[in-house]
């Protein structure tokens, strides 16, 4: 790991002024991704601003039934929090399906939003990667790409977004609050991550001098009946091949509310709006669920090692939605 200047920020203003004064600075939260990337010399900040002492570790109820989560809340604490387990079970489950007990104790909510891809060529500094080195080329297209995306890819990048938590946040229409010396703004989580296009190294809407301070999750009645399912190469402690976050509310046999997002298959946490459109007011049947999944995946582009994900995603979406129905075909 290269040397760097270290600053432990005592308060938010100090952190924001420090980052605006230093062009090659990184905020350090739990370190589970950044420290690893620095050790591999993929990230080489001159200055590291430790934000773990900032007062951003609270989970609070919002008026109207939503929840505000501080950016430094640890993943394990959020997954176990009674408000999250009760109102947004899909979010608790998504977090618990990521990483390990040890990593979830370290990793923060803000860091999870900003974690970088696990595409093997992004990590392999001997191979070309447009995300790591703009213009270098993409080794994944002709190489090993089992764990890359089938939705939202470009000729420049196939890398899948690795987060489980973000898939649930996308389904829940969460918003990210970010702060800089220029002020505060809120970004819908579905706009926070960018498609790779011709600039796969630009991964989010966050400016270099902005700090993620919180995530706000709006109230959603259907979220009480929600689930996360993750399909992977081993039973636990592995990134997703395919994952599905879903919330479902059925009334008189028809879908009243359906929220759907996919992980493992998208270059960003993939909100399945096309599937939701098909599901709107459709009969709550397996056939309709399948049609919705198919509509979402119509745009998917498979390659030799990852084309299997398209059908796997379709079947997983259908299975998760079916699981959200009670035995009489309604929702609780």
């Amino acid at each position: 790991m290269r040397s760097f200047a270290y600053l432990s920020a005592p308060d938010i203003d100090t952190a924001l002024h420090a980052v605006s004064a230093e062009p090659n600075a990184k905020f350090l939260g739990g370190g589970t991704n950044l420290v690893d990337l620095m050790r591999e010399e993929i990230e080489q900040p001159d200055t590291v601003i430790d934000i773990t002492r900032l007062p951003l570790a609270e989970v609070a109820e919002l008026p109207g039934g939503g929840v505000r989560v501080g950016a430094l809340v640890r993943n394990s604490h959020l997954a176990a929090h009674p408000l999250i387990r009760e109102r947004y079970p899909v979010l608790s489950q998504a977090i618990l399906h990521g990483a390990s007990g040890q990593l979830r104790n370290m990793a923060t909510v803000g860091g999870n939003l900003l974690q970088r891809t696990r595409c093997v060529y992004f990590y392999d500094t001997a191979s070309p990667c447009n995300k790591r080195e703009p213009g270098a080329g993409c080794a994944a297209a002709e190489g090993f790409h089992r764990n890359t995306a089938v939705l939202g890819t470009s000729e420049h990048c196939l890398a899948a977004h690795p987060s489980d938590m973000c898939v649930a946040l996308a389904a829940l229409d969460a918003a990210v609050e970010v702060r800089s010396v220029r002020g505060v703004r809120r970004i819908p989580v579905t706009d926070f991550h960018r498609l790779p296009g011709a600039t796969p190294h630009v991964e989010s809407d966050l400016a270099p001098d902005e700090l993620v301070t919180a995530v706000e999750i709006p109230p959603l009645r259907a979220a009480a009946n929600s689930r996360y399912r993750k399909v992977r190469d081993r039973a636990s402690y592995a990134f997703a091949l395919v994952s599905v976050a879903a919330a479902l509310e059925v009334e008189d046999g028809r879908v009243r509310t359906a929220r759907l997002a996919l992980g493992g298959v998208g270059t960003r946490p993939w909100r399945a709006r096309e599937a939701e459109r098909v599901l709107a007011d459709a009969p709550a049947t397996e056939e309709a669920f399948d049609r919705a999944a198919e509509a979402e995946l119509a745009a998917a582009v498979g390659r030799p090692d990852n084309a299997f994900k398209i059908d796997l995603a379709r079947r997983t979406v259908t299975a998760v939605l079916r699981r959200l129905l009670t035995t009489d075909g309604s929702t609780p």
Partner: protein, 163 residues
Amino acid sequence: MVEVRIRVNGVEEVLDVEPRVSLLDTLREHLGMTGTKKGCDQGACGACTVLADGERINSCLALAVQYDGRSITTIEGIDHPLQEAFVRHDGLQCGYCTPGQICSAIAMLDEHARGAPSAVTEPAATAAPELTGEEIRERMSGNLCRCGAYNGIAEAIAEVAAR
């Protein structure tokens, strides 16, 4: 160099470290406490697991400077029934992952006792779920064992959990 004060197994240690030095290297190379093992050094194996104020973490991904003022417990500071149970159930062959397994299992039992759910816990459950074999394996999935002593590890933990 940055001065950090870390309590390690109850003893206050004052160290001058470079900011890039991991907690794992601080323990092993600066304090000579080699009980905590370096496996992958990238958060994928769990051999470096220690307790930070009672919570399990991967010390390879922790910078020592971030743990200034914190209390760390390593295998050298542990005297727990799990250790004897691991021996009796053959929960190891080479033993390299064992310090991390023991630290992880102690914190895992504590998490479970506090009612923390896991990925295999039924979402609607409000009380602590029964610590079945499936729950133990899921909750311990952050600790790999290349010898494949998982059956013994799971049995040792189940036995101690049932006491």
